[in-house]
Subunit: 219 residues, 2 copies
């Protein structure tokens, strides 16, 4: 009967608001007073949960990490089973985000890498963890599609290429405030992957996976 304060608590609200404002305005440009006001918390109370602004930053990055699967990957991949199509479904998700925010939100992780990566070492490590998490998911896609790809293509390296393309495409799209660059990049990336798929189809590998025992096959 005591306590049990509904859990939808002040702390949660602060993290939520901070995530939005850091993504929208940047870290330095967002004041703690503004966060407190929007969260309907008075500035003094903010320091009860987060002694420093950096503590709050860390909390938002931890939260971003937890939310990747349920709020980014799951919605993007709903109804999409093909692993290669999942890659492009995720890229379409970021395009949709740009539309919904009129190019005002970028990738929250990439934004902060640039803004605080130099000056906040702990935050940088958390940002890396977020990238790793993202890369793991895309690497799995390419691993699942491995039989359809040329054998010398490392799934991790392909995943990195997709991350790089996404981050670059989001940035350039925001600069121009239109989708020309974003769509151009995705067209080229798709063209590349389709060429890899076609190449693997034209030169099928002697699937060493199935009968790995009889590996002595010379001439």
């Amino acid at each position: 009967m005591p306590s049990k304060p509904t859990r939808d608590d002040t702390r949660e609200r602060l993290i939520q608001i901070a995530m939005e404002l850091f993504a929208f305005q940047g870290y330095a440009a967002t004041g703690l007073a503004q966060i407190a006001r929007k969260a309907k918390v008075l500035p003094g109370s903010l320091y009860y949960f987060f002694p420093t602004k950096e503590d709050l930053l860390h909390a938002t990055l931890q939260r971003r990490h937890e939310l990747l699967q349920p709020e980014v990957l799951d919605p993007a991949w709903d109804g999409v089973d093909d692993p290669i199509e999942r890659v492009f479904a995720l890229l379409a998700g970021y395009r949709r985000m740009l539309t919904l925010t009129d190019f005002q939100h970028g990738c929250p992780i990439g934004n902060l890498v640039i803004e605080v990566g130099n000056s906040h070492p702990d935050a940088r490590r958390l940002l890396v963890r977020n990238f790793d998490n993202w890369l793991d998911a895309i690497e799995r896609c390419f691993r699942d599609a491995a039989p359809r790809l040329p054998p010398d293509h490392d799934p991790r390296r392909l995943a990195v290429f997709v991350l790089v393309t996404m981050e670059g495409a989001v940035m350039v799209a925001r600069a121009y405030r239109n989708f020309e660059a974003y769509d151009a990049a995705i067209i080229q990336l798709r063209d590349y992957l389709e060429r890899l798929l076609a190449d693997a189809l034209a030169h099928p590998q002697p699937d060493k996976a199935r009968n790995a025992k009889k590996r002595s096959r010379r001439a």
Copy 2:
């Protein structure tokens, strides 16, 4: 005999220092007092040349635009004539910049797109002009290499893809503070372009450019 104040003047020093600090620390995190101190100018004098901080930002972006050719393209392309290799020579230039600054400088344009793109419309337009200038140079490379590429590949779209790859690769490299992601992205980009070159070589186009008059060739 009067005036002629050596031209290596205060204003130049301010722009130079501001360019460095905006690139290194970001726009919001750089104070005018800090700029003045480093340039050995007193804060009051700064406002003689640049009434507002934003005016100084605009001046640095204008300067970046002017410096692309002499300070970025020319050094990267020294001794490199092949247009495709020029693309990779430029990407190697950004890699070198990351090495020299221990991953602390990114692309000055990309950084500012993210930091001030939303809130400073005039600066955003200048940033776009910088991107356009960069894209023009790379587009020319692909245009020069057009006979060696498949005919359905727009040079501008390829240039955009290179810009996107560069910006994303620089960002991700800075997050990890190593070159794994950067090199992975460049390997994939090179693989893609080599596949395009090989494809064009395998399927030579019936060069319609040379004899454009006899275009009625059915069955």
